[in-house]
Structure formats: structure tokens, C-alpha cells
Amino acid sequence: MKVAFVGKGGSGKSTIAGTFARVLARRGEAVLALDSDPLPGLPYALGLPVDDRPIPDDAVVAGPEGGPRWVLSPGLDPATIIERYAVLGPDDVRYLQFGNTSGHISTIQRAQFAWSETVKGVDTDRWNLVGDLPGGTRQAMLGWGSYADCAILVAEPTSKSLHSARRLLRLSDADWGPTTVLIVANKVRHADDAERISSRLERPVTIVVPMSAEIMAGDRLGVAPLDVDPDGSFVESVRALVDHVAGLYHHVEEAP
């Protein structure tokens, strides 16, 4: 599967994406977690003690005269980049970071070039892609999530979150946009929250994730949901989301 999580900053995208990746990996699938947030949050949700792990500079060299600005270094291709530079995390999820804004600008651009080349050329028969886009609409607008054929929009039952979600839904209609968009209602506290999200977005809500005090406490401690409350309602909801998405892909494979 190739999914990307989008939504307003703070909606819980990374927390759900990281848990999704690990739940899928525990089912024996090879999972590549793709973090294109320049202020990465996915490591916390994966339970991975790393912050700044961009693909190193020397993975990229200047392109030939008259050609592209950069190319991957000789001997490197997407498979070897994943092998060498994607960080191995809990449940054997591999984590590939887009580059962190703390670095020097040209270093970041090189790391981001290598990241994009890897994502473009990754063997999707082998790897399931689980991506986490930064909050807001800038990257989504520029097509950064275009590796995914399924976008998962995480929305909270607040006017601001739904306002952002509506903008993202408009963007998902672009040519490069995903074929499927699923809505996840997160931090739900009231009985009518999911219905409210659904009517405001004019789409059904696929999965409802209740507000969880345990997950919020874990967030403050920097502990991943699967490590802080593995059998709680949050993880259960993410399992249901994995089931749902796996069902979509299974259905596609069986189609003539």
C-alpha cells in the first residue's frame, strides 16, 4: 500500500501515521515510513530515538553538463539508499527522513533530492509506503504526497481543523492527487463529533479515534502510543484503519 497522512498541524497525523506503520509492520509487512516534515515528528510516534537523520550529502553529486543539477552518487539507487540510510525502528519499520531544517540549506536540498529520488524509484512490490506530510497545505499543494494513491486526512472536530481539511480536500482533486481519500476523525469527545466532521467535509468518516488521556500523557513524555497504551482505544482505532486500508488494496488486487 502507498498512503500519506495529511491534515492541519497538531491534528495528530504523525501520531496516527507512526502507529499505523508499526501495526502494519507487526503483520509481517515491509514498511517504509516517509517523513517529509522539515520539523520531523514521526520518530516520536514510531518510538524511534532519532531526531536529525537526513540522507547524507555524499549520496548526491552534481549532474552532468547540461543535465539535472544533481544525480544520485554512482552505485546508489533507491534500494541501496533505503538499505543504508533508512533508520531501522521498532517492529522493523524503516524510517526515511526528508531532512531537518536545522542543517545547512544546501545540505538539506541535497538530502531532499535524494529523498525524492528514493521515493520515486522505491520498489513498491516490496515496500509499503506510509508517509507523513507536514501540517498545512504547502507541501500538499506542491505535490509532495504524490507517491501515495491513498491520502488519509486527519481532522479534529474543530472549526479550524475542518477549515484546513476542506482546503486539503480541494487540493486532493488535482491531477497528481490520490485516487482515494479517507477521513479520520481524531480527538473525538462528543457523540456528534464524527457526524459534524462528515457533514462539513461532505464525505463519510472512515474511522473515529476517541480523545485519549493515555496518548496525551505519552505525548508529553515522548513515548509512542504502541509503547504507552498498546491495547487502548487509540491503538484499536488505528488497527481498524489498517484493516480498512488493507481491505481496499486487497480488493484492487483481486479486481480483474
Binding site: K160, H163, R167
Partner: protein, 103 residues
């Protein structure tokens, strides 16, 4: 006096901006609140409502798409891409503030 409010999405940046802007206005000061987020929703927290916030954003999108001629100065920007909010705060949606000449 110019104040920038920053932070990770969801931290409370927009609520902070809105309370600050309206509290200053209640003290009798003239306040301009600028929404510089690519995902503008300061209007909601200021209290101008969902619909008005969405109207301002689509005006701004037309400008970014080149459908509307660029405004000449701040007053004009605020008149055309802004609205008067509660307590007299003037709100402007300025998605690309770091770029002096968008487009």
C-alpha cells in the same frame, strides 16, 4: 510595534494571536491582525466566523492565482483582503508575507 507569533501547528498559536489582538484593541489601541499562515484560520479565532474566514481565504487564493491585480499598499490590502473583526481589530489574510512581491 510589530509582534510575530510562531509555533508548531496545534500548539495554540492562532488562539494566542487572537486573544492578544483583541485584548490590545480593547485597551483602545489600533490593531492589525495579519494571518500569514498558508492555512489561514485566524479569522475563526478572532470571532469573524467560519464563512467570512473562508471568503477571505478564497479572495487571497484568487490573488495568488493572478486573478486579481495586486494591491498597492497595506491599507488597500486590508480593505480588499481584510475585514473588520470584533473590538475593531482589522484582519488581513496575507499568506505570503515573506515575499514582498508575490507572483
Amino acid at each position: 510595534m510589530k509582534i510575530a507569533v510562531v509555533g508548531k501547528g496545534g500548539a495554540g498559536k492562532t488562539t494566542t494571536s487572537a486573544v492578544l489582538a483583541r485584548s490590545l484593541a480593547r485597551q483602545g489601541r489600533e490593531v492589525v491582525a495579519l494571518d500569514c499562515d498558508t492555512n489561514p484560520n485566524l479569522g475563526i479565532s478572532l470571532g469573524v466566523g467560519d464563512l467570512e474566514t473562508e471568503r477571505l481565504v478564497s479572495l487571497r487564493e484568487q490573488l495568488d492565482d493572478g486573478d486579481v491585480e495586486h494591491a498597492a499598499d497595506w491599507d488597500e490590502i486590508l480593505d480588499r483582503f481584510g475585514t473588520d473583526g470584533p473590538d475593531g481589530v482589522r484582519l488581513g489574510v496575507i499568506t505570503r508575507i515573506e515575499n514582498p512581491d508575490p507572483g
